[in-house]
């Protein structure tokens, strides 16, 4: 990647390869099977029969090594934050983060007196899409996923937009 970085700007060939690669990436976002708090239940509901995450090619993988996307579904506490960070680091590139729910966006209802709550997961790992809500409805999470897909679609092999 680094060699390509220095050699080319966007050109027509890369753009075509980009399309294929982006399409593959955005249609097969495997998530880390990992739930934190209340939002995890809504995340499970999203992957269950009624809403069916699998329609978008999202399946939970138990191991972070095989996943592309981590959905931070719930309150990140200080004790957990280091684990979340490590989990994120264990994922192979290219990787994406959806922050689901107010707690992981900014601390949510625990922003003021939560002595043990990390006020926003973006203090530890970079976030691609924020989904607001407490907890967000499954539709909201699907919308967040589609926003992420849009973002991936505009990426380029030689330049990661994130």
């Amino acid at each position: 990647m680094s060699y390509l970085d220095t050699q080319f700007d966007d050109n027509i060939i890369i753009a075509k390869v980009d399309d294929l690669f982006n399409w593959a990436r955005l249609s097969s976002l495997w998530q880390v099977g990992f739930g934190l708090a209340c939002c995890a239940i809504e995340m499970m509901a999203t992957s269950a029969s009624h809403y069916d995450f699998d329609r978008f090619g999202v399946i939970p993988r138990p191991s972070p090594r095989q996943s592309d996307i981590i959905i931070i579904s719930g309150t990140v506490t200080l004790k957990m934050a280091l684990r979340v960070k490590r989990l994120y680091e264990q994922m192979p590139d290219p990787k994406y983060v959806i922050s689901m729910g107010s707690c992981s966006n900014c601390g949510g209802p625990y922003w003021e007196h939560g002595y043990h709550v990390l006020k926003g997961v973006d203090r530890v790992i970079p976030v691609d899409v924020y989904v607001p809500g407490c907890p967000p409805r499954p539709e909201a999470l699907l919308e967040g996923l589609m926003k992420l897909q849009e973002k991936v679609r505009n990426e380029s092999v030689i330049k990661k937009s994130a």
Binding site: V32, G33, F34, G35, L36, A37, C38, A40, I41, E42, M44, A45, A48, S49, H50, P60, P62, P64, G74, T75, T77, K79, M80, R83, L87, P109, Y110, E112, H113, G114, Y115, H116, V117, C134, P135, R137
Partner: protein, 371 residues
């Protein structure tokens, strides 16, 4: 040269597919046999008790939702009746009935998640998805009542935030009709499955004396064969007006108090909850649900401990009031927190795979364990 053997320490969680959230279990193994289980909790400690001290009494209710997020109605219910006891107010009949209906619907929803995830832990994914499919119907009922799917802020101190939707009674009756065959389906798919029985019968047997000494409550205690249900034994709200059974573990396929018994008690309880809902719908009185809500909640100085039967066991609130508008101290006796303490005893001399089976049958919600 002598062979040196060492115990292996296996770290399960906080990110593990079947620790039901962010629980971390430290397993000390010899081969695959468990020597010791050390649970590490607190990965979801959200400072509930500190928040209570900073909020006014009604403001605490949304935070109670977020403790046992699978049984939010139950949490609100418990908190509301605790504060009402402190205030000493009487409620309109309709409020009590609606609370009972909501509580029981929530119990079914919560047990569905417990059963579904238990199936997934044992390796059967399909019951999990079926359970979530049926839970979706209950969530729709909640949604037409108060607009939220999971965390409702519906049961307030002294009343409810809204009256029932005009369609609610009809839809609930339809749900009952829809759901009865689903319990049978779940039994066929999971409860009587030979492999499922092999995996859960005689595993993690919990004797009654140990259970009581460890403060175990809820379906776990009943699974050990003790007819103890706060809805009957320390009755609250209008539960004394309904006729329902308290299912207990009978050791049908194994020993009394094994994982299968605990699982099956939950299945049976769903049926009992349906009975209660039916009776409550029949008797539902008319009235105003918001009339008794106090304008300003300022309880007298004192302390109160009140408990309700949540899907996971005895949920108790201990509230100390110093006469101001916010509680001086709220301590929650969370059923999952207490039930989880027994993991070490249950898991000893079982295999790694059994830890999953036992943990699933204890049925914890980490939001409540850590608060």
């Amino acid at each position: 040269m002598a062979i040196k053997t060492e115990e292996m320490v296996l770290n399960m969680g906080p990110q593990h597919p079947s620790t039901h959230g962010v629980l971390r279990l430290e397993l000390v193994l010899e081969g695959e046999i468990i020597q010791k289980v050390i649970p590490h909790i607190g990965y979801l400690h959200r400072c509930f008790e500190k928040h209570c001290e900073a909020m006014t009494y009604p403001q605490v209710i949304p935070y109670t939702d977020r403790m046992d997020y699978l049984a939010a109605m139950g949490n609100e219910f418990g908190y509301a009746i605790t504060v009402e006891k402190l205030l000493g107010i009487q409620l309109p009949e309709r409020v009590e009935y609606i609370r009972v209906i909501m509580g029981e619907l929530q119990r079914i929803a919560s047990h569905l998640v417990a059963i579904g995830t238990y199936g997934a832990d044992i390796g059967a994914m399909t019951p999990f998805l079926f359970a979530f499919r049926d839970r979706e119907v209950i969530l729709n009922l909640f949604e037409i009542t108060c607009g939220a799917r999971m965390l409702y802020n519906y049961i307030w101190v002294g009343g409810l935030s809204h009256d029932l939707h005009p369609d609610f009674v009809r839809l609930t009756r339809e749900f009952i009709k829809y759901f009865r065959p689903k319990i049978v389906e779940m039994n066929e798919l999971l409860s009587t499955n030979r492999i499922f029985i092999e995996r859960t019968a005689n595993v993690g047997v919990l004797p009654l004396e140990t259970a009581i000494n460890f403060g175990i409550t809820g379906p776990m205690l009943r699974g050990s064969g003790f007819k103890w249900d706060l809805r009957r034994d320390d009755t609250y709200s209008v539960y004394n007006k309904f006729d329902f059974d308290i299912p207990v573990g009978e050791g049908k396929v194994g020993t009394v108090g094994d994982c299968w018994d605990r699982y099956y008690v939950r299945i049976l309880e769903m049926g009992e909850s349906l009975k209660i809902i039916e009776q409550a719908l029949d008797q539902l009185p008319e009235g105003d649900v918001t009339s008794a809500i106090p304008k300003r909640i300022k309880p007298p100085v004192g302390s109160v401990y009140k408990r309700v039967e949540n899907p996971r066991g005895e949920l108790g609130y201990f509230i100390i009031s110093n006469g101001t508008t916010s509680p001086f101290r709220v301590k929650v006796r969370a059923p999952s927190f207490v039930n989880l303490g027994i993991m070490d005893v249950l898991c000893k001399n079982h295999m790694v795979a059994d830890v999953i089976a036992i943990l699933g049958s204890v049925d914890i919600v980490l939001g409540e364990v850590d608060r």
